[in-house]
């Protein structure tokens, strides 16, 4: 994903001299080509995130399309008030790119685990929050954010899966992508943890359970239409995010359901339940440890299915008639 971002940004910079990249001294080696080709459009501000956002705001006020780059929580939590007051409030084209979403930097410890960033960024009015699930989505998001007015947050990881292509293979900020159709369970995920949905869906298919897979690359503005359509058509809907649940992606979906007065029969959120990570491990290990990997998804789906069958048998629809079903 990181390479997809850098490649796309380099193309943007080549075509448009108003595209600039600021880094707070991170991305060693990633931007060598960018810096060499566009020295006037690349600035390392030093290890100073508050200044990073302030400078980005000043540049954007002067007409530049600004991307700022750092890792983990540094370009968001460290300088949150600068993002809010300087960039967001003044509606500036500042795009904040955090490499290392979730447990990408799993071995580096809690400081480097970005687990509340989605919740915190989506709490800011009018910020576009994007967590691509694949390299292709990362590229499309980068290109789109450059032209989109206002503040964007792009949460990427080191490695992304190859995009399987969607049913209508297009990308639009704020539009869900259906990557696989199914009839029993809907798995809606954001970010690179999309990979776990595919693994889980493959295994569930062996048990005769078919899953619809949605990559919700844009957490904000949320594609409420797609979310509600899923509730109407599936008994079981599950959200998957690599981070803390409070206020995060799954919460955004729950809010959308309650606001619309339409809920699926069973809704479950995969993510951390109000905790900080206190151990280290690689990304796969930590996804497993915190119950959000393919195995956890399979377990939860099987248990929920059994519960549904035991409790309601075939009378599910009588017990909970679907609204507009």
């Amino acid at each position: 994903m990181r390479n997809a971002f850098v490649r796309s940004l380099t193309e943007l910079a080549a075509a448009d001299s108003s595209v600039v990249l600021l880094t707070a001294d991170l991305g060693f080696g990633c931007f060598d080509d960018f810096e060499k080709r566009f020295p006037e459009q690349f600035i390392n501000v030093g290890i100073a995130e508050q200044n990073l956002i302030g400078i980005a705001s000043g540049l954007a006020m002067s007409g530049y399309k600004v991307f700022v780059y750092s890792i983990g929580n540094f370009p968001t939590l460290r300088c949150l008030e600068q993002i809010r007051n300087d960039a967001c409030y003044h509606e500036l084209n500042v795009n904040i790119v955090a490499s290392g979403g979730g447990f990408t930097y799993g071995m580096l410890g809690m400081s480097h685990h970005a687990t509340e960033d989605i919740a915190i960024m989506r709490a800011l009015p009018k910020v576009t929050v994007v967590a691509p699930g694949t390299d292709w989505e990362t590229r499309q998001a980068t290109l789109a954010l450059a032209e989109l007015p206002g503040v964007g947050y792009l949460r990427i990881e080191k490695n992304g899966i190859k995009d399987p292509g969607s049913i209508n293979n297009d990308f639009e900020i704020g539009k869900a992508r259906v990557l696989r159709d199914g009839k029993d369970v809907a798995l809606v995920s954001t970010g690179g943890i999309l990979a776990e949905s595919f693994k889980a869906a493959d295994e569930l298919l062996i048990h005769g359970i078919s899953c619809k897979i949605i990559s919700m690359h844009t957490v904000k503005p949320l594609d409420c239409g797609a979310i509600i359509a899923v509730a109407k058509n599936f008994d079981i809907v599950m959200s998957i995010e690599e981070g803390n649940l409070s206020g995060g992606f799954g919460s955004a979906i729950a809010e959308a359901y309650l606001d619309a007065g339409i809920t699926p029969h069973f809704f479950y959120r995969f993510g951390m339940r109000d905790k900080y990570s206190s151990i280290v491990g690689d990304q796969a290990y930590l996804r497993n440890h915190y119950g959000m990997d393919a195995g956890a998804i399979v377990d939860r789906v099987m248990k929920t299915r059994r519960h549904v069958q035991l409790a309601f048998g075939s009378k599910l629809d009588e017990q909970f008639p679907k609204i507009n079903g």
């Binding site: 100073a48 200044n51 000043g58 008030e81 007051n85």
Partner: protein
């Protein structure tokens, strides 16, 4: 070619008007920070009356000089000077800190022509000013960026992030004016976090650092017209509450609102001061 719209106003008269408007505005609005406004009224008067290039009929003039009030709590002073310069009717000032108004206690750019940046949380303005100055350099523009900082505001670490960056990039189109009134919210600046030697601090960070009398218009005009190869910090020695005898150097006028007899006395003193 730079559009030249600089005017030469009577800066003494302008300063007096800023002070009178501001005292009235905080009285009407029941708001505060009047001490901070009075300490920098002369700086605003000299900047807007004698230094800046701007066009009140076109606040977005591309080549205008930019001013950022980083010590946003002194917003009343900026609204007053902008109204006096013709950015909007003086009548608007009555809306300061009223229900539903855009003239907030901390300076706002939303709906207020002539204000570049909304501030209020300290330590933000200089970084944005650095971004503006950098953009001007990248586009080879001649306009300059002026950022007004409070001396207490220099407690903020983000100020020094911006200071380092500006010096490293030789942003000589960036001018900081520190309103050195020696008082912050609860105590004096020296009781809170010793700031001296402030001039030396800016100098060793790579800035041209120049102390001036922040109430001496000739000196302010002369220094603010200077150009060099590095960013410039003007440390303006000021008196908090300047021009109102009972407010001068009194820390409580950071938060108090002048009302009743004290309000009348403040206005009287400021009106007389114009005759001196």
């Amino acid at each position: 070619m730079r559009t030249q719209t600089r005017r030469c106003m009577d800066t003494r008269d302008l300063a007096r008007k800023i002070r009178i408007h501001s005292v009235k505005m905080v009285n009407w609005g029941g708001s505060s920070h009047i001490g901070s406004v009075l300490s920098m009224a002369d700086i605003l008067a000299v900047l807007y009356g004698n230094i800046l290039n701007f066009d009140p009929s076109n606040p977005e003039l591309p080549d205008r000089d930019r001013v950022i009030l980083s010590k946003g709590h002194a917003g009343a002073g900026v609204y007053a000077v902008l109204a006096e310069c013709g950015f909007f009717p003086i009548e608007w000032l009555k809306q300061h800190c009223q229900n539903g108004s855009v003239l907030s206690g901390h300076v706002s750019s939303k709906g207020v022509p002539g204000v570049e940046l909304s501030t209020g949380s300290l330590g933000h303005g200089l970084s944005v000013g650095v971004g503006l100055a950098l953009a001007a350099k990248m586009r080879k523009k001649e306009y300059r960026i002026y950022v007004l900082l409070g001396d207490g505001e220099c407690n903020e670490g983000s100020v020094w992030e911006a200071v380092m960056f500006a010096a490293h990039h030789h942003l000589n189109n960036l001018i900081v004016i520190v309103d050195r009134n020696h008082l912050q919210s609860i105590h004096s600046t020296e009781q809170t976090l010793n700031m001296e030697p402030l001039k030396e601090k800016w100098r060793v960070f790579g800035w041209r650092s120049i102390p001036v009398d922040g109430h001496d218009h000739a000196e302010l005009s002369s220094v603010l017209s200077q150009r060099g190869s590095n960013p410039m910090c003007v440390i303006a020695a000021t008196t908090k509450g300047k021009g109102v005898s009972f407010m001068e150097n009194q820390v409580d006028w950071h938060y108090r609102t002048p009302t009743g007899d004290l309000f009348q006395q403040a206005i009287r003193e400021l009106e007389i001061s114009g005759d001196a």
